[in-house]
Subunit: 131 residues, 2 copies
Amino acid sequence: MSTELLAYPSSVDGACCAPLVRQPLAAAEATDLARTLKAIADPARLRLLSLVAAHENGEACVCDLTEPLGLSQPTVSHHLKVLVDAGLLTRDKRGVWAYFALVPGALDSLAAVLSTAGDTTARSSALTPSC
Amino acid sequence: MSTELLAYPSSVDGACCAPLVRQPLAAAEATDLARTLKAIADPARLRLLSLVAAHENGEACVCDLTEPLGLSQPTVSHHLKVLVDAGLLTRDKRGVWAYFALVPGALDSLAAVLSTAGDTTARSSALTPSC
DNA sequence: GGGTGACATCGACAGACGTCGATTGCCCGA
DNA sequence: TCGGGCAATCGACGTCTGTCGATGTCACCC
């Protein structure tokens, strides 16, 4: 389940780049895409992604994120779980602390699906070789 | 309200490209971005965008969209309204029919915000000159 | 071994969302 | 002028979602 999002470029069977505006989306593909988009379509989760990415070493623990968000610890933990389940964040438990980091290329492949241009900005890593 | 999304690149005061992973998102910016993402974070609306884009001349009326979606006419009309309000679609009423078309550059600027790369694919049109 | 602190999970609640049938408004052709 | 048909709006319903306090779990330190 943790690699859910990374399945997009390959599961869209051939339509690797910019599939949204090239041909009508099938119901199943739309459901999958919507599931990932719903994960980031929340102010708290967008700020979490932003905070984690901007944190030193590109990783942060819950204690770093609770205060700047102004939300309770269970709520932050819940949002982080949603992002991890969507394949956008990784959880690395080291001792008592849990460190979260962006999955390389996850946001880029999402951006590539939305982009109407033929090329893609998702050239960083973790993408299908056919791209 | 129809230009809601187009306000992003300029309203993110300076952080025109890829602002999400560069610095922590402010609460107001996150709310605005989430509002637009919620508009497309739905299977029916994703398919609507796809159907409109793939239709001939890049525009389609409600009667073209109801059947392939398998939803009632009021529901389709509701989803289209959400997309228009989010600045992703334009409504052009000609006679009895209402034709919907993609706003050029809207999806691209959204993709640019999500992209972790420094550059942007949103070069088609309707973007801020500072990009 | 017991205490402490960080994080996850649970249960509950209010609010938002997607969907539909019924209705209304409106343009066009007869 | 009137009827037919397309699309928007309304009201209602069930479901999903975000949030919290309380509780559970586990690793570290004394």
